[in-house]
């Protein structure tokens, strides 16, 4: 049994070596598919994490006050908002508190802000909503108060980001499906040509009584190997590239979304399985089609 598997393995390796160019093209196309898939995966996972973090602010409305607005004026606003059903609670955030929070969000680089002569941040009200769907209505009311400089409601921002990421993901899915089909066809073609170029061997195998399974196995294994090699290459590449991305962009992303990029180990653990599964599936589907079509019993 082990001998048989080894024999098939040897046959398919020899076959790939004999037709290096063909094998390379196929591996290349599967690798491209997997890399685009990785991009899709990175976008989805990171955006999901980031929006989760943003959603904590989803249910709050920031009402920035003018320099001229006193705390008494603010208390009046709080009174008028407090009795609304849509409002859960209201906090008055002084400019100093705001600065503290801002520093925290910069993490280890927060000390850079110590150098600022004056605090540019305004006082603000933080309105927490009971019901997010009423956010726009409450934000509207807040903006009618005099003494308000700006009303910032994150839901709009989050929605915008979600819409963009949604579109990106859809484009990715279309591209991936397209590439999967191309890759399957590539494997199909490779295996087909190999079946063709091995007609003599196959005929003799039939005449000396090789089982169908045994005749097909090297062909199927070749597809699987092509897929597995592509998965390996893709894994190394994405691991490297994602590592770089974290080095380069993690801090910026932290400032923007108040959460960093998803750690590389987490990503790669998931991607290893996805890559292997998809690479091997593409390889076996392509070769199964070719073998069924060109290696009839």
């Amino acid at each position: 049994m082990i001998r048989t598997v080894l024999f098939c393995f040897k046959q398919s390796v020899i076959q790939m070596w004999r037709h290096k160019g063909r094998a390379f093209t196929t591996v290349f196309s599967i690798t491209c598919t997997l890399l685009i898939l990785a991009l899709f995966f990175f976008l989805t996972v990171n955006i999901t994490f980031a929006t989760e973090a943003l959603k904590a602010q989803f249910n709050t409305i920031e009402v920035f006050l003018l320099e001229t607005t006193t705390e008494e004026d603010a208390q009046v606003m709080i009174k008028s908002l407090e009795h609304m059903d849509e409002v859960d609670k209201i906090e008055f955030i002084t400019k100093d508190q705001a600065m503290e929070e801002f520093k925290d969000s910069w993490g280890s680089k927060g000390y850079l802000l110590d150098g600022l002569a004056a605090n540019p941040l305004p006082n603000s009200l933080r309105v927490t909503l009971t019901d997010i769907s009423q956010g726009d209505f409450v934000a509207q009311i807040c903006s009618t108060f005099s003494g308000v400089e700006e009303v910032r409601y994150y839901a709009t921002e989050v929605n915008k980001i979600l819409r963009i990421s949604d579109a990106l993901q859809k484009i990715c899915v279309v591209i991936i499906i397209f590439l999967i089909v191309i890759s399957i066809f590539g494997v199909y073609n490779t295996v087909k040509l190999n079946v063709m170029s091995r007609q003599d061997e196959i005929m003799i195998m039939r005449f000396v009584g090789a089982t169908n399974w045994f005749i097909r196995a090297p062909m199927l294994m070749e597809g699987v190997l092509l897929g597995a090699i592509a998965a390996g290459i893709s894994l190394v590449l994405t691991s490297e590239v994602y590592g770089r991305c974290i080095e380069l962009f993690n801090e910026q992303v932290k400032v923007l979304f108040s959460t960093g990029l998803v750690p590389r180990d987490f990503m790669m653990q998931n991607l290893t399985w996805i890559f292997l599964a998809l690479g091997i599936s593409i390889g076996s589907i392509g070769s199964i089609f070719a073998v069924r079509r060109f290696l009839r019993a």
């Binding site: 001998r3 048989t4 024999f7 003599d200 061997e201 005929m203 003799i204 195998m205 039939r206 005449f207 000396v208 009584g209 090789a210 089982t211 169908n212 045994f214 005749i215 019993a297």
Partner: protein, 231 residues
């Protein structure tokens, strides 16, 4: 060993019906040496393809080694083929493999171990008188030598019968006679041998059983026969 009972095979081609074999009934016993003769298009190759289940008959039953070939499932065809060693007119050797590898290939694909292969291949090459050509490639061999390799490959897995479709068709008379002697030797060791040939001199000289086919019908079957199918 081989039994045909009222076997008919009609090919349906675009230009109409071609009779391959018609109502053929014959029995070949274990250990026999049989020549199959007849004009071109008579149905000799059809007869052989029916034995190896390359094709199925339209009517009748075929038995090989006690098994009803006509009822054999596709999955069991390899088992049937392992009982039969086949030799072709054009040798059918793999050009990118050496003599040794060509013979070993037939053993590898039926899952024999490396040790058996290393022991068995030189033995059959020696039997065929080409042991010192083991590392050559087919195109570095004469036609007669290539056919010896093909026979070595056919017998290496110890089949119960050897079937040769015009094995000497591409050979000069002397070489043809040598090849026939090798097949006779294999037969002496107990293997059933069926040889399709057009070579009347060889048939007459060997004095074996001769079965003649013409237009798909078995027209003559004689022990120690001579070549001929016209009577």
């Amino acid at each position: 060993m081989i039994k045909f009972e009222h076997v008919s095979k009609i090919y349906l081609a675009s230009d109409g019906r071609n009779v391959g074999l018609e109502d053929a009934t014959i029995q070949i016993d274990e250990g026999e040496f049989v020549f199959l003769v007849g004009p071109s298009g008579a149905g000799k190759s059809t007869f052989i393809k029916l034995i190896t289940k390359e094709i199925d008959p339209d009517e009748g039953d075929i038995y090989v080694d006690g098994e009803k070939v006509t009822r054999l499932s596709h999955r069991r065809i390899p088992q049937l083929r392992r009982k039969i060693g086949i030799v072709f007119q054009n040798f059918q050797l793999l050009q990118n493999m050496t003599v040794f590898e060509n013979v070993a290939f037939a053993m590898e694909v039926v899952h024999l171990t490396g040790r058996t292969i290393k022991r068995q291949v030189p033995t059959v090459l020696q039997m065929m008188g080409i042991e010192e050509k083991a590392d050559r490639f087919p195109k570095q061999l004469s036609a007669g030598e290539q056919q010896r390799v093909a026979i070595a490959r056919a017998i290496v897995n110890h089949p119960k019968m050897i079937i040769a479709d015009e094995p000497t068709g591409n050979l000069d008379p002397d070489t043809a006679w040598e090849i026939m002697q090798l097949l006779d030797m294999i037969n002496q060791k107990g293997t059933t041998v069926v040889v399709v040939t057009h070579d009347d001199k060889i048939v007459n000289r060997m004095g074996k059983r001769v079965v003649a086919i013409s237009n798909g019908r078995i027209v003559k079957d004689s022990q120690e026969g001579v070549y001929g199918y016209d009577d």
